[in-house]
């Protein structure tokens, strides 16, 4: 038990150092890519991981929701809620970094490119998840309906994240994690990107654990107040 507590104390510091190194490497160690305006290619080290983490979190929300419908344990509802919140947050970050990238590279913050349209849908779909949660007072009903909605919402994710950008002509370049599995990146940039992907996944996992703990405390307190 105590060793587990020790690991939990050390891990955030490992993450802190890791992310610090990633940020340093993204700006100073990786070379600027050719064909890009100035140093703008470096946004990719933050833009891609945020999108990746968002997709991962939405998957987590779907899995937790399926579990909730099976087990009806409040903890699974808490997990689904925390994962959805993280997914939405990181999707917004991906949109912002993407929009800045688009301004620099394409010449417009927003022109309803298929990629931009599809992420707007995604944001609206998961924003509606929280609207739904807010609209139902009874906790068990809220959890069940939110779980059903989260499963449905995730059905659209493969479409909006993977299929849409591959069907339409888009200004967006081929995704780095592409279908052909080819990495069109020089080795140093690839190393930084993978380190960043790992770092962001760790960061999101940490935030997720904190949010789950917080939400448990919030609900426990609410419960006490009711009694």
């Amino acid at each position: 038990m105590s060793s587990r507590g020790g690991v939990h104390r050390v891990l955030p510091w490992v993450l802190f150092v890791w992310m610090a190194v990633v940020i340093w490497a993204a700006f100073l160690w990786a070379p600027a890519a050719s064909g890009f305006v100035g140093q703008s290619s470096r946004i990719v080290f933050f833009h891609v991981p945020t999108a990746w983490v968002a997709t991962l979190a939405f998957l987590g929300s779907c899995i937790a929701s399926i579990r909730y419908l099976k087990t009806r344990q409040p903890i699974d509802d808490i997990r689904a809620q925390a994962a959805s919140a993280l997914g939405l947050t990181f999707a917004i970050l991906a949109t912002i970094t993407g929009s800045i990238f688009a301004r620099i590279m394409w010449g417009s913050y927003w022109n309803w490119d298929p990629r931009e349209t599809s992420i707007t849908f995604l944001l609206l779909i998961y924003a509606a998840y929280f609207a739904l949660r807010g609209a139902i007072a009874d906790p068990e009903r809220r959890a069940a309906m939110a779980a059903v909605y989260a499963i449905l919402a995730f059905v659209t994710v493969p479409f909006l994240v993977f299929i849409v950008p591959r069907i339409y002509w888009s200004l967006h370049p081929d995704t780095i994690i592409n279908v052909q599995g080819k990495m069109k990146m020089s080795s140093r940039m690839l190393q930084v990107l993978f380190a960043s992907l790992a770092g962001f996944t760790g960061l999101a996992s940490w935030l997720y654990c904190i949010e789950v703990r917080l939400e448990r405390l919030r609900r426990a307190r609410q419960h006490e107040e009711l009694i």
Binding site: S118, P173, M189
Partner: protein
């Protein structure tokens, strides 16, 4: 007991149908609604304010001093060409562009663009490695 089991199975069936319906909707409806880019033919025939995507015809661009406009040709996948007149500051990476998007309307035999977006081949190769000189 068996009643609740039956009810549960019904809900699974309904859920499954809804998911399939969602997928079908996604596959069909999104196809036409999700892209803002229209073909050359549509842009020319409607004359509306639209977005047109195509490849930049290499060497076709020139800056017209008299009218202070950037003039170039773009081609679609069928090789059809469209002449574009752009009134504005030339994007910094225009020379590297392979594909462009123009936003504007077709008038008097030429596409008058008020916005010009460019797509550059993103290789994520270092400047030194690819042997290209650095451009601002």
């Amino acid at each position: 007991m068996s009643d609740s089991k039956k009810g549960r199975r019904l809900w699974y069936a309904i859920g499954g149908v809804v998911i399939v319906a969602f997928l079908a909707y996604g596959a069909t409806s999104f196809k036409t609604e999700l892209t803002p880019y229209v073909g050359f033919q549509e842009a020319i025939s409607t004359g509306h304010h639209v977005q047109v995507a195509g490849s930049l015809v290499q060497g076709s661009s020139r800056y017209d001093e008299a009218s202070k406009k950037l003039v170039f040709s773009m081609a679609d996948e069928n090789g059809r060409q469209l002449e574009v007149e752009y009134d504005g500051v030339k994007p910094g990476n225009f020379e590297d562009a392979t594909q462009v998007v123009v936003i504007g309307a077709y008038r008097d035999g030429v596409f008058k663009a008020d916005q010009l977006l460019v797509k550059c081949p993103s290789k994520y190769q270092g400047l030194e490695e690819s042997g290209q000189s650095k451009r601002s």
